[in-house]
């Protein structure tokens, strides 16, 4: 058994969000630079140059990359041999979020859905807990902007549509989103499970490091096909037209019912901000 305190959890959440708000994940920043070399349209080059320069400026000046510092999504993978001591874990997570958004000069964008009253500290975080094997506690944070979140979709497809139907759902979602979600986008896809778990998988898929297998080669193959077809849409950076409309597509799966094929498509803008801490 390993003891982890809620104070440690608070500090990890705080540190991870402070980093995340101010930098694009290096592998995705490199993909933006790669995209720049693929484009010839001067407007698209203009957009990519500013995206790249903006990411550099944010790091130099210690400023948020994008003013939409999002809903604070927090994924906690808790080893079953971990014992958590202190107060309520979610209060600790929210304290970390509150301090990071205050100290980082991040925008507070969270409101009550009905009254639209701002909570003024960007809490509550959207927390996802998973119990895993081992004695570690992994915290992954994703400040999720809503220009892209708004373009996300969930489909309850017929099981007989198969692979072709999955690809069509993903590509159609990105086509309909067009210029709105700040392309080139990253696409997280959940396939299978139930209505709720499918949407969770789509968000979790965004966390899968780019350039590495998600652990399932057939799903990776479908993701590659989706990426190629998305780039054929020629949406380009900021919708200005071009060869690179998405930086990556990541697919996670879960067993589902004989009668169904849920597919969730979660869109992430080019400002891919994601950091982790392991306790």
């Amino acid at each position: 058994m390993k003891i982890i305190t809620t104070e440690q959890i608070e500090e990890s959440v705080y540190r991870a969000f402070l980093r995340a708000g101010k930098r694009i994940v290096p592998a995705y920043k490199a993909k933006l630079a790669d995209a720049r070399t693929c484009e010839s349209n001067p407007r698209t080059v203009f957009a990519l140059d500013f995206m790249i320069r903006n990411a550099e400026l944010a790091e130099e000046k210690n400023l948020p990359v994008c003013q939409d510092t999002g809903v604070a999504c927090v994924f906690l993978e808790i080893g079953q041999e971990v014992h958590i001591e202190g107060d309520f874990i979610e209060d600790a997570v929210n304290r970390g979020v509150r301090r990071a958004y205050q100290d980082g000069f991040f925008r507070k964008s969270v409101v009550d859905p009905l009254t639209r009253k701002n909570t003024q500290d960007n809490t509550p975080a959207a927390c996802h807990y998973e119990i895993v094997t081992g004695d570690k506690l992994k915290i992954t944070v994703l400040p999720k902007g809503f220009g892209s979140e708004n373009m996300s979709k969930l489909y309850m497809l017929s099981p007989t549509v198969g692979r072709e139907g999955i690809v069509r759902a993903v590509v159609d979602t990105v086509r309909q989103a067009g210029s709105l979600p700040c392309p080139p986008v990253v696409v997280g896809v959940g396939v299978g499970g139930t209505f709720d778990t499918c949407a969770f998988l789509a968000k979790k898929a965004l966390l899968c490091p780019t350039g590495q297998s998600t652990g399932r080669s057939d799903a990776d193959g479908i993701a590659e096909e989706c990426l190629a077809k998305i780039n054929e849409l020629r949406i380009g950076a900021q919708g200005f037209g071009g060869a690179v409309s998405a930086l990556d597509v990541r697919i996670l799966t879960a067993p589902t019912h004989i009668a169904g094929l849920p597919v969730a498509v979660n869109i992430q803008c080019h400002c891919m901000r994601c950091e982790e801490e392991i306790l």
Binding site: F50, A58, N62, C66, D68, G147, Q238, G239, H270
Partner: protein
């Protein structure tokens, strides 16, 4: 790249070419979802609106990160503002047919900014003042002074749309 002074150069709007990159300098007003829903409480004749809600201002800075938000969420409110004299809009992403028609009807322009470039656009802002709805926090209406603020001309006064 041409520099367009706001609001003085609205007379030059008819000369702007679709897809042209320009630098904006001068006065613009920020307003986004909540302020559009309440209604802009002053005259926007010949003015330009920037769809944005900034991050808090760090010590010693003029403003926090301040990139454009998705313009299409404002589409339902925009034709009435254009018919009331609004001449320019800065945001990101495509607009509805109703907005394109209202732009053409009123000789206005829609400028597309680069989404996500919050730190870069903040560096182009030289002054900020909240002029309405301070209770809306980041969504309050601000009068801002910009210098060499880079954008593309996305919809021209004759209704040409960059796509």
């Amino acid at each position: 790249m041409r520099t367009i002074r706001l609001p003085e150069d609205v007379s030059l709007f008819p000369t702007l070419q679709v897809g042209e990159a320009v630098l904006l300098s001068g006065t613009v007003f920020t307003a986004r979802d909540a302020a559009h829903k309440r209604g802009i409480p002053f005259d926007l004749n010949n003015q330009t609106v920037y769809y944005a809600g900034p991050c808090p201002t760090p010590e010693g800075a003029v403003v926090g990160s301040m990139g454009p938000t998705t313009s299409s969420r404002m589409d339902a409110f925009t034709p009435a503002l254009l018919d009331g004299g609004l001449k320019g809009m800065i945001g990101k992403g495509a607009r509805s047919k109703e907005v394109v028609d209202a732009i053409q009807r009123n000789g206005a322009v829609y400028f597309a900014a680069v989404g996500g470039a919050g730190a870069l656009y903040a560096s182009c802002v030289k002054a900020v003042e909240v002029v309405a709805y301070p209770d809306l926090l980041c969504e309050a209406v601000r009068k801002i002074t910009v210098e060499n603020f880079p954008v593309l001309v996305a919809i021209t006064p004759n209704g040409s749309v960059y796509d």
